[in-house]
């Protein structure tokens, strides 16, 4: 046990206690947290800073507004319903169409009008928010993911998570939904996490349930060596989020839309540690390097360049496919 402890320490793996004590508590002042705890606020901030986000169709804030939701939705076939203060993907429903008095969820399951109303009411009463406080429901554009992901994700939308420390992108992964994760991009629930080479934007080895895998379990396509489109833009958005919120340590979640390109979904002030498993690498050395260099990096472009220079794994495509 002690040996494993030391091995993790040597590999620079960040534990939950260390993340809280050294990074989130130290670099994320509490007064800044409301900006990211409420996704609606994050959206507004991003709009103001010209960072693209999925378009918001409407917000339900009060119980009596729920009845009018069907009118609002009449003109949309595709949409996503999410709690403004939800965490870990809880309470999010994705719809792809409507059919006589029902909405069709992404898996094909039909949801009646009253069932949707009940779900909205649950969101408002705080079922998915931290501490059970009153919440809002956001109805927004459903992302149509980039074709590059078609072969390596099952139903849901794959998303890219980049950890940004003091404005420097330090580690990234893409989360690929599987049949088991029910289309959700959550590693706990059985989604695949694939690390991304910061320099090239290609996926590294992928991890599914703590095991290294090479192929998507549902589609059979290789999951490593896939080039993430618009990688430089993704890095740029992630780095800009530091100025957006002022949070020193945050996780930036983005998606790639077929038509709209990279869209920022949400920011996370306490990003999880699984990204280390997906990358097969510890965060600590990169965080230390970023902390040491941060004061000498004047702007977003410099920080992105630093990240690409320092945190690339320097593997060629051939290396990866041979691995």
């Amino acid at each position: 046990m002690l040996r494993r402890w030391l091995a993790l320490k040597r590999a620079g793996v960040l534990g939950l206690n260390a993340r809280n004590a050294r990074y989130t508590l130290a670099f994320n002042p509490r007064r800044l947290l409301p900006q990211v705890d409420d996704k609606l606020t994050t959206k507004q901030l991003a709009n103001a800073a010209n960072i693209a986000v999925p378009r918001c169709y409407g917000v339900i804030e009060e119980e009596h507004e729920i009845a009018a939701v069907h009118q609002l939705l009449a003109e949309h076939q595709d949409f996503v319903v999410k709690p403004a203060q939800g965490s870990g993907g809880d309470g999010i429903l994705v719809f792809t169409g409507q059919a006589k008095g029902s909405y069709r969820k992404i898996g094909g399951e039909l949801v009646s009008h009253s069932a949707l109303e009940h779900h909205l009411s649950n969101i408002l009463s705080g079922m998915y928010s931290l501490g059970g406080q009153q919440d809002k429901a956001i109805i927004e554009y459903r992302v149509k993911f980039d074709p590059v992901f078609e072969a390596i994700s099952y139903q849901g939308v794959p998303d890219v998570r980049i950890i940004v420390f003091l404005g420097v992108p330090v580690m990234a992964m893409v989360r690929l939904p599987t049949r088991q994760s029910d289309g959700k991009a959550n590693l706990h629930q059985g989604a695949i996490g694939a690390g991304i080479d910061m320099a090239t934007g290609r996926t590294l080895r992928a991890v599914w349930h703590n095991e290294v895998i090479e192929e998507h379990p549902d589609t059979g396509s290789p999951v490593n060596g896939v080039a993430i489109p618009a990688w430089d833009q993704l890095l740029d958005i992630a780095a800009r989020c530091y100025e957006l919120t002022g949070l020193g340590y945050q996780g930036v979640d983005m998606v790639l839309d077929r038509d709209l390109g990279p869209l920022m979904l949400e920011l996370n002030a306490r990003p999880g540690l699984n990204i280390q498993i997906a990358n097969q690498a510890g965060l600590v050395p990169r965080l230390d390097a970023a902390e040491a260099a941060a004061s000498g990096l004047p702007d977003v472009a410099a920080r992105v360049r630093f990240a690409k220079d320092q945190f690339g794994v320097g593997l060629s495509l051939a290396d990866l496919q041979g691995a």
């Binding site: 494993r4 590999a11 130290a26 009411s121 009463s125 703590n210 498993i277």
Partner: protein, 512 residues
């Protein structure tokens, strides 16, 4: 830079608290000689009677039976707390009684009686006495006939007083009593009917007999129930008999308080009389010596001794002071081991409930009620209720389930089931709600693993909180909580791995 500074600050604070705590502890231990371990065989008991009533506004008088020396227990000290009341003690044989009276009283009145008794010998019969006059009971013709039949039957089968009594009690307790027994029992009103009938039968036969009442002395009891048993005079001693079994024996810790059928207290000029009896084992006998030393050596010190508090408050604090230990265990298990639980402090509250139910029963009752509640919660999900009414419905259902379990276990003769009422029902409800959400969103495995984690933490917290040595230590040396606080503060900056993370990140180091 700023981090260095906070960290230094923290170390100084924790160091200061720990030093203060340890310093006080050592001072009390070495200079004042407070006892480090609880004395197991302490023979002193503190008894406190709290009598409260609602005075009508005019004169009020409260009479209360009080203990006297017996062959088993010796009265060491007693005092009366009754501001504004006149006080008189009397000896209506074979009892002692105190009478408080006041010219004018209105509203809630509270009077206290406190006594310290020493157990002197446990084996002998509690009381000797001169042969009392036997008062023949008044009986109707029908009762007299029944009595004669019963006495004839008993006389025919018994050799001496002891067999006579056990036969009598067996007849009285028979599941299907004979005609004459049911007749006699029917005529008796109020509790203790069997003992009272037994007294009458013995007296009818010309043998002095009486009802003895008192309490069972237990450590840490705030509301001690009154118990009654049966005594028969054998020419020299009053022999006690167990009214359930007829055995010529009652437990050593039965404390004879008064004799006769009357209730412990009677009141005129008021209503809603309530009598609460609290007892505690006087483990502080060495402690009181230390307390006296403290008054002489360091007058401020007795301020932080809990032994000066009234007994029933002491009982509360004995439990309350264990809560920080439970919390500490929780911090260790969550932040050093990494066990996930429902709600931050829920396991500690469950552990408190385990104190009353005992561990095994507590765990079983908890599982039963949570799984039943969860099943109903899943059913409610179909009804699409709004959040707050749904939670309210679950609370109501939890309360009903608790009642049901109590009634069923009563039927099945499992007294442990009765203590389920001590579970904090709101906490249980929130557990059920959280569990069902996790179940829906993250799957059954995650929900069950978190539930198991909570239960494991509760069980471990219970074991620590119920450790008698710990309890004594914290009660006598509450300053040790400062040391605990210091450790908790330090844990607040602990940034090492959690034990379960070693497994979680196994893949990162090629896990062996």
């Amino acid at each position: 830079m700023y981090q260095r500074k906070t960290e230094a600050h923290l170390y100084w604070l924790a160091g200061g608290l720990a030093a203060l705590g340890f310093g006080l502890f050592l001072f009390k231990l070495l200079a004042l000689q407070y006892p480090l371990a609880a004395q197991q065989q302490s023979a002193l008991w503190d008894i406190e009677v709290k009598a409260s009533f609602l005075a009508d506004g005019g004169p009020a008088k409260l009479s209360l039976y009080i203990p006297k020396d017996t062959r088993r227990f010796q009265l060491v000290d007693e005092n009366f707390v009754s501001v504004g009341y006149g006080l008189a003690t009397s000896r209506p044989e074979p009892n002692r009684q105190v009478t408080w009276s006041v010219r004018r009283a209105k509203g809630q009145e509270v009077l206290f009686y406190r006594a310290t008794v020493r157990a002197i010998s446990s084996a002998s019969e509690p009381e000797a006495g001169e042969r009392p006059e036997v008062i023949e009971p008044e009986l109707s013709e029908l009762q007299r006939q029944a009595m004669e039949t019963l006495v004839a039957a008993i006389n025919a089968e018994s050799a001496d007083v002891a067999t006579m009594v056990s036969l009598l009690i067996a007849k009285l307790n028979a599941p299907e009593p004979s005609q004459e027994v049911s007749l006699l029992l029917r005529e008796e009103r109020g509790g203790k009917a069997r003992i009272r009938v037994a007294v009458k039968v013995m007296r009818f036969m010309g043998i002095p007999a009486r009802l003895a009442q008192g309490v069972q002395l237990k450590t840490l009891s705030r509301k001690v129930p009154q118990v009654a048993w049966f005594q028969v005079y054998d020419g020299r001693l009053w022999r006690s008999f167990n009214p359930e079994t007829g055995e010529a024996w009652v437990p050593d810790d039965y404390f004879t308080w008064w004799r006769g059928e009357h209730p412990i207290a009677s009141l005129t000029g008021g209503s809603r009389l309530q009598i609460e009896i609290a007892t505690t084992m006087h483990t502080e006998s060495a402690l009181s010596g230390a307390g006296a030393r403290a008054v002489a050596l360091a007058p401020g010190m007795s301020l932080i001794s809990l032994a000066a508090l009234p007994i029933d408050t002491q009982v509360v604090y004995r439990i309350l002071l264990m809560v920080p230990l439970g919390i500490f265990v929780l911090v260790l298990l969550r932040n050093l081991v990494g066990i996930k639980t429902f709600g931050t402090f829920m396991p500690v509250l469950i552990a408190l409930a385990f104190r009353e139910t005992q561990l095994l029963w507590g765990v079983m009752l908890f599982c039963v009620i949570v799984s039943l509640g969860l099943a109903i919660r899943f059913y409610l999900e179909h009804l699409k209720l709004l959040l707050v009414p749904r939670l309210a419905a679950v609370v109501v259902i939890v309360v009903m389930l608790m009642t049901l379990i109590t009634m069923v276990s009563q039927r099945m003769g499992l007294p442990q089931g009765l203590s389920i009422a001590l579970f904090p029902m709101v906490i249980i409800t929130m557990t059920i709600e959280r569990m069902s959400i996790v179940w829906d969103e993250r799957g059954a495995a995650e929900a069950l693993s978190q539930a198991m984690g909570s239960l494991a933490v509760a069980a471990i917290a219970y074991l620590v909180m119920n450790e008698p040595h710990m309890e004594h230590l914290v009660f006598v040396f509450p300053e040790l909580l400062l040391v605990l606080l210091a450790v908790i503060l330090l844990l607040g900056r602990y940034s090492g791995y959690r034990l379960l993370e070693l497994k979680r990140f196994k893949a990162l180091v090629g896990g062996k």
